[in-house]
């Protein structure tokens, strides 16, 4: 059976055979690809540099008519489902390529169209190179929070996030971060892709120097077919675990004024039986849909790291309702919790905290998404370390250690056990 037939069928690809159906969770996060091109050429980019090349068929920018059609469908979905808070994310490519005027029009139209059915929260994720006072004025006026992508101090950032001519982009993004630092109301946070060549302590200190409210650490997109950068064999995945644990230790002991790292605080929440704040860890149902520049509805765009067309639903905002997307296996699989996991993960002690990590990282051409994460061992190292730190702290105040914390703190991991 071809890859696309297996994906369309779902069973044995996105989720196991005979997996029970999950209750449907409405969408509350809408990711708009308002620009499908970028002015940087980051070697790890899942949109342009990995397996999927569908960006080539996309218009450079989302047309106003496409945007309006999408908002109308979103409004109908939110009104029918009763979603109290809705997140609109302007994304790309590089979303600021649309210019300040169109960004303001997009933001204003969204508030106008949706505010009577839901509380609208808007954000954008940018490489920061174009962010200046004009954009600052727009985001302050419209209440759009801005997240910037910074991979570390200038020399490290420039190596990983160059312009198309090879020049580094650190100076421009530093300027953007300094602008946002003065406006915490619209500073969404920093996004940093983990790179083993960078010193975790240096990265942590550098990111903290901008006083962001939060930091998202992202593992580079990789699959069982294409191992992560710096890893030549599965056993070397421990290097990512060691890197994360080093930052974790710095973050965990830091003062109140240091930024949150959602990956770490989500693990702590999960260990206490609460929900995760990010879709990359835990079993909580994901509630996000992507609207491509041409109006196509797609599942989480990081799936593009897996194979060409992985995020494809076959639906668009002109001809289909958003509810129809909820029935697609690629979307459903992210709302099924444990039931979507492979048998190895379903039996694993870490299951309810790890949730097999980020869905794209489970992929292999042989078994679809029915694998543990390619980062499995690194995630276990990280989770166990979080559990150990929490256990130690609970004990130090004479507080009973929660069961899940206790169980995972005492797990033996074998290779790379630190």
């Amino acid at each position: 059976m071809s890859l696309s037939s297996r994906a369309a069928n779902g069973e044995g690809f996105w989720f196991g055979k005979g997996a029970p159906q999950a209750p449907v969770v409405p969408f509350n996060t809408f990711l708009f690809k308002i620009a499908s091109r970028c002015n940087l050429a980051c070697p790890y980019c899942y949109v342009y540099e990995l397996r999927d090349q569908s960006w080539r068929a996309q218009p450079q920018f989302m047309q106003r008519s496409t945007y309006s059609a999408a908002l109308a469908k979103i409004r109908a979905h939110l009104a029918a489902q009763g979603v109290p808070i809705t997140h609109l994310i302007f994304h790309g490519g590089e979303p600021l390529l649309v210019g300040p005027q169109r960004l303001e029009e997009f933001a204003t139209e969204a508030r106008k169209c949706l505010s009577d059915v839901t509380e609208v929260r808007m954000g954008l994720q940018s490489n920061g190179t174009l962010f200046d006072e004009r954009f600052l004025d727009v985001v302050l006026r419209t209440g759009v929070s801005v997240g910037l992508s910074i991979d570390g101090p200038p020399a490290q950032h420039d190596r990983l996030r160059p312009y198309r001519n090879g020049r580094g982009s650190s100076r421009a993004v530093e300027r953007a971060a300094r602008l946002l630092e003065k406006h915490p109301d619209v500073f969404g946070g920093l996004l940093c892709v983990v790179n083993l060549d960078n010193d975790p302590a240096e990265v942590w200190e550098y990111l903290c120097s901008f006083h962001p409210p939060g930091i998202d650490l992202l593992l580079p997109h990789a699959t069982h077919d294409h191992l992560p950068p710096g890893v030549n064999a599965p056993s070397e995945i421990v290097r990512y675990g060691e890197w994360l644990v080093q930052i974790l230790d710095l973050w965990y002991g830091a003062g109140e004024d240091r930024p949150d790292i959602r990956l770490f605080s989500s693990i702590m929440r999960l260990l206490l039986g609460r929900d995760s704040m990010v879709e990359s860890i835990g079993n909580c149902p994901a509630s996000l849909i992507v609207i491509e520049s041409n109006g196509e509805l797609e599942a989480v765009d990081a799936l593009k790291a897996c194979y060409h067309g992985a995020a494809y639903t076959g639906l668009n905002v002109f001809d289909h309702d958003l509810d129809q997307a909820l029935g697609k296996p690629v979307v459903k699989s992210r709302q099924m919790g444990t039931a979507s996991l492979c048998s190895t993960c379903r039996r694993c002690t870490f299951r309810d905290t790890c949730g097999a990590g980020y869905q794209p990282h489970r992929y292999s051409s042989r078994r679809g998404f029915q694998n543990p994460s390619v980062y499995c061992h690194a995630l276990k190292m990280l989770i166990r370390r979080v559990a150990l730190l929490m256990q130690e702290e609970f004990r130090s105040i004479g507080f009973p250690v929660p069961r899940r914390v206790q169980t995972l703190a005492r797990q033996k991991l074998g290779v790379g056990d630190a």
Partner: protein
């Protein structure tokens, strides 16, 4: 639907009572755990005392601004 959704994600199991949590907050020194428990207390208060109610109210997207 919410109850089954939370059961699905394993979020329904409370680790300790609100009173125990408040006692822990008092005793803990500043750091990640204390901050987390304070945040959870605030979330529960906003959600009218139903832990997990905020699960669907924040954006989970891994590369979105956290606000």
């Amino acid at each position: 639907m919410l109850a089954s959704m939370l059961a699905l994600s394993g979020s329904a199991s409370a680790s300790f009572t609100p009173q125990e949590r408040d006692k822990a907050i008092e005793k803990l020194t500043p750091g990640a755990l204390k901050r987390l428990l304070i945040n959870l207390r605030a979330e529960d208060q906003r959600a009218g005392g139903a832990p997990g109610r905020l699960a669907q109210q924040h954006s989970q997207f891994v590369s979105a601004p956290p606000k």
